[in-house]
Subunit: 292 residues, 3 copies
C-alpha cells in the first residue's frame, strides 16, 4: 500500500501487536548504560502501509529511557544505517560539538550526560536535515522522575508524531514535510493502534499518562474522553494537583514538549483518547482505554 | 452567497442581531435539567453566507450551561436531525459507552454527570466523523465556577470556532476540513459579529471574558486591544492574579481548551478583540468592546 | 533574488552584520521619550533576497524598548511611509481610539502610556490589514522588567516572525500570508543570521534570552540545543525557577506572546537554537550560541 491507499480507519491484521505503551520502571542503579543502534528498517505505520523507517534500535519511537534526578546515562550510539546520523538528548546539558556530531555508517560514539532536571525529554537524530530524520522516525523519550512523584496504579507513555508517506516501502516524502501536509498523526508510531489494541486499566485505579510531542511539526492537544485531568505536569512543573478545585481537559504540547496527566476512570467502559485537533485524531492520533 | 462570495469584512444587514455573549448566571439549584435538541437548520454565518448547521437547540454554539462544583447536570438529548448524533460533555467524568453513544433521528437519551472540577469545559457531538460534526456547528461550553471566583461587573463568553464553507445553504466542506483550509474563524458562530454589534462595558468596570476554543482545529491567541490581562485562568488553574507584578497579552488555547481573562477598561473608547493569529482575525475572529 | 531563488541554507556575504541581539539596559529615568519613524526601506531578509520592508526606525524588528513597572513611555510616531500606518503597544492599557489611529504619510501623533505590568510586550502597526503590515515588518518588543528580576551575565532578545516573499525588492505577498505559506521564519528579521554570526557567551555564565513571537501566524517552540531551561517566564509569570526540580526544553509561544528563559552553558562549544517546529527551523528560525 502507498499513500494513495492509506485509510486511517482501517483495522490492522489479526496478528498485529501494538507497541507496548507501559512506562518502564527506573532501574535502581544510578548509571544507565545503553546501546542505541541506528537501523534503517521497513516497517508498517498503518494497516497495509509500509515505509522505510530510520530508527533507534529498530522501532519508532526508539526505546523509552527512565531514571532519577542525578543519574548518569552513557549511551553508545552505533550507526548501522546507510547515511550519516547522530543523536541529541534534551535530558542532559552539554556542549553539542562532540556528542551530537553526525557519524558515518559503521561508526559509533559515546554520549554521556547527567540528568539534573526532572521531566519527559525528547531525544532525536541530530543530523541535518532534522526535519527529514525526525520525519523518518528518529526520536524517543527520556523520563526523569520528579523527586515527589506519586505512586499510581499504572503508567503509560505516548509519543505523538507525524508520518509524511512516501512511496510504498520508501522513506517519507520530504516535500510533504516542507509543505506541512502530514498523512498520519500517531501515538507510538502506528495509526490508531490503541483503538484496535486498547490500553487497559481498572475502574478506580489511578493512571498516569506521559505524553511527548516529537513533531516534527504538529502540536498535541491530548484529551481522554470521559475523564478529567486532576493532575497536569508540563515541561518540568505541576500545573494541577488533585486538591486543586479545577481540572483540565487538554494537555497542550508544542513540538518537543512533554508532560504527564493523571486520571481515575470512574467505571468500566471504553474511553477513547485523541489529540483534540480533530483532523489529527482522524489521521490516527487516537486510541482507547479499555477499563474493566 | 456561497464560499466564493464570502467577504469577511462585509457588514451584516440592518436587522442583524448578534448572539448574546453575556455569561449566564448559575442557578441556585444543584440539579440542572436541560433538554438539548439536535436540530439541523439553515443559518447565516457571515453576511449573506448561509449554511446548513448542525446544532444543539438551534444555535451555533449551543447553549452555555453553568453551575458550581458538586452540581449535577441531567441532559436529555433528543435527535431531531436527519443523521445520527450524540454528545460528549468534558465537564463530567463517566464511562462514555452509554451516554456518549450515537442515537438515530427520533431517538433520545439521558446524559447525567456530576461536575467535580471547575473550569470552562467543551461539549460537542460524539458521532464520527467528529471533525465533520464539530465543523458543522455541534459544540458549546459548560462553566463550572471555581469556588473563589471573584465578583466582577460583567461577564462574557466567547467560543472560537471555524467554518469550512460548503455550497450555498449546504453543510460544511469536509475536504476543506481535512485540508485545514478554514474560510472563517469566528467568535460565537458568526464572522466578526461583535465588530458590528459591539459588546459593552463602562470605564473602570472589571470585566471577565470566558473563552473556549472549540476548534475543530485552530488554536486561539485571544487578545483585547488596549488592555492587559491582570487575571488569567486557563484549563482549571489561575496563571495570573491582580496582585502579580506581571500581566498577559494573550490567552493561548489549543482546540478544546478554555479559560478566562479579566480586564479593566481604563477609559471610554473602542477596544477591538482578536485572535492574534492575524490570518484568523482577518477571517472573522475579531470583535469590539464599546466602552462608555 | 526573488522567492524562487530563496535558499534558507545560504550564507550571507562577507560584509554581513547581524542585528545586535543584546538586550538594551533600562535607563534610570522614569520617562522614556522616543521617536518612531515609519520608514519603507528595501532590505535583505536572507542572503540575496531583498524586499520592501515597512519598518519602525528602519529595521525589522523595530527598536527594543525597556523600562520598569511604573515608567511612562512617550512615543512620537511619524509616518514617513507611502501609505497609512499606526501603532499599538501591548505594554500599556489605554483607549485605542486616538493613539492607535492610522495616520497618513507626513503626519505624526504622540502615543503616551504608563507601564503597570511586567513582561515582554509586542508592539505593531495598527493599520488594517494588520496581517499585511505585520507581514511586511512592522513589529517590535517592549520589555518591562519584573521587580525581582535576577542579575545575569548576558541578556539577549529574539523576536520570531515570518516572511512571505514577494517579487524581488517588492513588499510581501499577501496571498501567501492568507494561505499561511511562509517562505521564511526568522529571529530578528533575517534568515538564520545567528547561525552565521553567532551570539556569544562564556561557559558557566548565566544567560537570559527574551523571546517574543511577533507572528503574524506561527507559534514558536523555542529551544536551545545542549541546554535545559532552569528558569521560564511566560506571559507575565514565572513557570520555572532554578530551585525547582524540573526543567524545560521548550518555551512555547502563540503569536503576540512572549517571555524569557535562562540557561547556563556547561562548557565551551557551539549550541544551536531553533524553533523546534522543524519546518520553521529549516525556513530560518535557527541560530547559534558560540560559547568560549
Ligand atoms: Cu538520522
Ligand atoms: Cu472532546
Ligand atoms: Cu453530530
Ligand atoms: Cu496586537
Ligand atoms: Cu503599517
Ligand atoms: Cu531537539
Ligand atoms: Na493510537
Ligand atoms: Na503551540
Ligand atoms: Na466576533
Ligand atoms: Na498549541
Ligand atoms: Na537566526
Ligand atoms: Na498555540
Ligand atoms: Zn557523512
Ligand atoms: Zn471529550
Ligand atoms: Zn471492551
Ligand atoms: Zn445510525
Ligand atoms: Zn494589541
Ligand atoms: Zn462607539
Ligand atoms: Zn488614509
Ligand atoms: Zn535539542
Ligand atoms: Zn566557534
Amino acid at each position: 500500500g502507498d499513500a494513495a491507499a492509506f485509510d486511517p480507519m482501517a483495522a490492522p491484521a489479526a496478528g498485529f501487536t501494538a507497541r507496548d505503551a507501559a512506562a518502564p520502571v527506573a532501574s535502581t542503579g544510578r548509571l544507565h548504560k545503553l546501546e542505541l543502534r541506528v537501523q534503517e528498517v521497513v516497517g508498517e505505520v498503518a494497516p497495509g502501509v509500509r515505509q522505510t523507517l530510520w530508527t533507534f534500535n529498530g522501532t519508532v519511537p526508539g526505546p523509552v529511557l527512565r531514571g532519577r534526578v542525578g543519574d548518569t546515562f552513557e549511551i553508545t550510539l552505533r550507526n548501522d544505517g546507510g547515511v550519516d546520523h547522530g543523536v541529541d538528548f534534551h535530558a542532559g546539558a552539554l556542549a553539542p560539538d562532540e556528542p551530537m556530531r553526525s557519524i558515518e555508517p559503521g561508526e559509533s560514539l559515546v554520549y554521556r550526560f547527567r540528568a539534573t532536571k526532572a521531566g519527559i525529554w525528547m531525544y532525536h537524530c541530530s543530523t541535518m536535515p532534522m526535519l527529514y530524520h525526525i520525519g523518518n522516525g528518529m526520536y524517543g523519550a527520556v523520563i526523569i522522575d520528579p523527586p515527589d512523584l506519586a505512586e499510581v496504579d499504572r503508567e503509560y507513555v505516548l509519543v505523538q508524531s507525524e508520518f509524511y508517506l512516501g512511496a510504498d516501502g520508501a522513506t517519507g516524502d520530504l516535500a510533504k514535510m516542507r509543505a506541512e501536509r502530514p498523512d498520519a498523526v500517531v501515538f507510538n508510531g502506528y495509526v490508531a493502534q490503541y483503538a484496535h489494541r486498547p490500553l487497559t486499566a481498572r475502574a478506580g485505579e489511578r493512571v498516569r499518562v506521559w505524553v511527548l510531542d516529537a513533531g516534527p511539526g504538529r502540536d498535541s492537544a491530548f484529551h481522554i474522553v470521559g475523564t478529567q485531568f486532576d493532575t497536569v505536569y508540563r515541561e518540568g512543573r505541576y500545573e494541577l494537583r488533585p486538591d486543586d478545585p479545577g481540572g483540565a481537559q487538554v494537555l497542550d504540547l508544542a513540538p518537543a514538549a512533554g508532560g504527564f496527566v493523571e486520571v481515575t476512570f470512574p467505571a468500566a467502559g471504553h474511553y477513547p483518547f485523541v489529540s483534540h485537533a480533530m483532523v489529527d485524531a482522524e489521521r490516527g492520533a487516537r486510541g482507547l482505554f479499555e477499563v474493566s
